[in-house]
């Protein structure tokens, strides 16, 4: 297999996802099939080829340092699953 269950567990940790034991194997297989396909790129010769980060050759897009009124706090918080004292509330962050 192109990827092991252990690899999947490691990547899941990085991605903050978890899988139930019963789905891990199936998921690993399907993911492995895709990775197996992608590995065909290994044989492509890219000697001297620069990576293309952007399709278009634009550079230096900036904005002037002008501040505008912010969005109202009410709107900022309108989708908050939990809020308190004008802030977004989450379970305590252990430092």
């Amino acid at each position: 297999m192109a990827i092991s269950v252990k690899d999947v567990e490691h990547v899941a940790k990085l991605a903050h996802l978890e899988f139930e034991e019963k789905e891990k194997m199936g998921f690993t297989e399907k993911l492995g099939a895709v990775i197996g396909y992608i590995e065909e790129l290994e044989d492509v010769d890219v000697e001297g080829v620069e990576p293309t980060n952007h399709a278009l050759d634009i550079k230096n897009v900036f904005r002037d340092d002008v501040s505008e009124p912010s969005m109202s706090r009410e709107k900022i918080l309108q989708n908050a699953p939990a809020k308190r004292s004008g802030c977004f509330e989450v379970p305590r962050m252990v430092d």
């Binding site: 940790k13 990085l14 903050h16 980060n53 952007h54 278009l56 634009i58 550079k59 230096n60 897009v61 900036f62 904005r63 002037d64 340092d65 002008v66 501040s67 505008e68 912010s70 969005m71 706090r73 900022i76 918080l77 308190r84 004292s85 004008g86 802030c87 977004f88 509330e89 989450v90 379970p91 305590r92 962050m93 252990v94």
Partner: protein
């Protein structure tokens, strides 16, 4: 066995732009929670960043002032990690093409001037802040989220707490001078992490410890000293330290391991696809250079040359831009640079130290101070009186002229008036006169003192001295 400490610093400075790095929200400090926010800086789906040009210019100014090479081509990258104060779950930062590289700052050490290398200065955005409640929640305020930051990474060239402190102070002064940051550690616009390890004579070396939660230069110094000791103790016991992150506990005066992570962060850096690359032309850099104000070293040299003040004084005065500007204005208005510097080095600095404040917090202006100096220069008041007037200026903000008038502090320079007092004092102290005539020189001083007392300190001291002396020697 002797040991050598190696210190490297990672410093973050918030920039003084009007707006945030990638959106138009105000970058000002403070404000009611979540009132400096918009969909972009709280990372709502569909939003996109746009680079604040001024922030890039400020970063370049910092790089130029630190003798860095400015990149011809630069770009932003995503640094991916999960944390509630990071709304997009990635920080837009710079990875392999930072704006500035290969700079240095010079510090004064016991063995002379030393160059501390700066590996890079790069651009990034700040995160939000969290408050922790007692009932198991954390509250998130994103006002600070998206404020532009520069990260300055030094080379591990510092040999201990003193050099680290000197570097921090030099950097702070420079950033203040070029007005890109107000570098206030208490407000968080200047943050510092320290990397420390120790090398023994025989080549053994400890693992690097990263120290966090340093809220002042003093704390950084104490933490470095503590770590140095801890590392040396480990080596002496034939052991090694761990490569880890440690938190400085100021109350307890020690560092504590933060080894709670199961694995190191894999930030999965990749070029930011929502932003295009930057090309920094020579012309742009030249125009930024022109904007750069005079830096501390240059100002110091100029003060010594133009105003003839001692090197030590010049060094102290330029250590803060506000102080240097204040001094120069006062010196020019008063027309006496040396008098100004003397008075600054004593009265003003003492006051600032006592009140633990900056010159900008003082209720008097440079021109008020200059007026005071003019009164001293013209003999209107004595030096001692000036100290009293100054204290009142510092406490009440009243103009010196007003204080002198109200308190009737004008120096008595009228000869006949002084003579009257001297004569009275001499007649009331025949024993002292006798003592002086018998060779006790101190009696002169006593009579002068009595005269000053009788005049409530207002008689011009030199005149009193002269007159008493003359009368005794008649």
């Amino acid at each position: 066995m002797s040991y050598r400490t190696i210190v490297g610093l990672e410093i973050h400075a918030e920039l003084l732009t009007e707006s945030k790095m990638f959106c138009t929200c105000s970058a000002a400090f403070g404000g009611d929670v979540n009132t400096h926010c918009c969909p972009v800086c709280i990372g709502l789906p569909g939003t996109l960043p746009v680079i604040n040009k001024r922030a890039i210019e400020f970063a370049i100014m910092a790089g130029l002032s630190a003798n860095c090479t400015i990149a011809e081509k630069s770009k932003m990258d995503r640094k991916n990690y999960f944390y509630p104060d990071l709304p997009k779950a990635y920080q837009i930062s710079q990875y392999d093409m930072p704006l500035c590289t290969d700079g240095y700052l010079e510090i004064e050490t016991v063995s002379g001037t030393k160059k501390i290398g700066i590996e890079r200065i790069h651009m990034e955005e700040d995160t939000g802040k969290s408050l922790h409640t007692e009932d198991g929640s954390s509250l998130l305020n994103y006002n600070r989220c998206g404020v532009p930051l520069i990260e300055i990474v030094s080379r591990p060239d510092m040999a201990g707490a003193d050099e680290a402190t000197a570097f921090l102070e030099k950097l702070k002064a420079i950033l203040e001078y070029i007005e890109v940051s107000d570098v206030k550690m208490e407000q968080g616009s200047l943050r510092c992490d320290v990397n420390v390890n120790v090398v023994a004579d025989d080549g053994r070396k400890t693992e690097i410890a990263e120290l966090k939660n340093l809220n002042s230069f003093k704390a950084a110094a104490k933490a470095i000293d503590y770590e140095t000791k801890r590392h040396i103790e480990a080596l002496e016991a034939g052991q090694n330290t761990l490569k880890e992150t440690r938190r400085w506990d100021d109350a307890k005066g020690l560092t504590i391991s933060m080894r709670s992570k199961e694995y190191a962060h894999d930030y999965r850096y990749f070029p930011e696809p929502d932003l295009v690359e930057m090309e920094i032309s020579g012309e742009w850099i030249e125009s930024i250079k022109k904007e750069l104000p005079e830096l501390p070293q240059a100002k110091k040299d100029r003060f010594i040359k133009t105003y003839g003040i001692p090197e030590y004084d010049a060094g102290v005065i330029v250590s803060s831009k506000a102080l240097a500007v204040f001094y120069e204005e006062a010196a020019k208005l008063a027309g006496d640079a040396k008098l100004a510097s003397n008075f600054m080095m004593t009265e003003i600095l003492r006051r600032l130290k006592d009140m633990d404040s900056d010159i900008s917090d003082m209720p008097f202006s440079a021109s008020d101070f200059a007026d005071l100096l003019k009164f001293v220069k013209s003999g209107t008041i004595s030096n001692n009186m000036a100290k009293k007037v100054f204290r009142e200026m510092a406490e009440t903000g009243k103009k010196p002229e007003k204080i002198i008038e109200e308190k009737g502090m004008k120096q008595i320079t009228d000869e006949s008036a002084i003579e009257e007092i001297v004569d009275k004092v001499i007649s009331e102290n025949p024993q002292s006169v006798e003592d002086y005539k018998n060779g006790k020189d101190r009696a002169l001083g006593f009579l002068v003192g009595q005269t000053m007392k009788a005049s409530r300190g207002k008689a011009a001291p030199q005149m009193v001295n002269k007159m008493v002396s003359e009368k005794l020697n008649k």
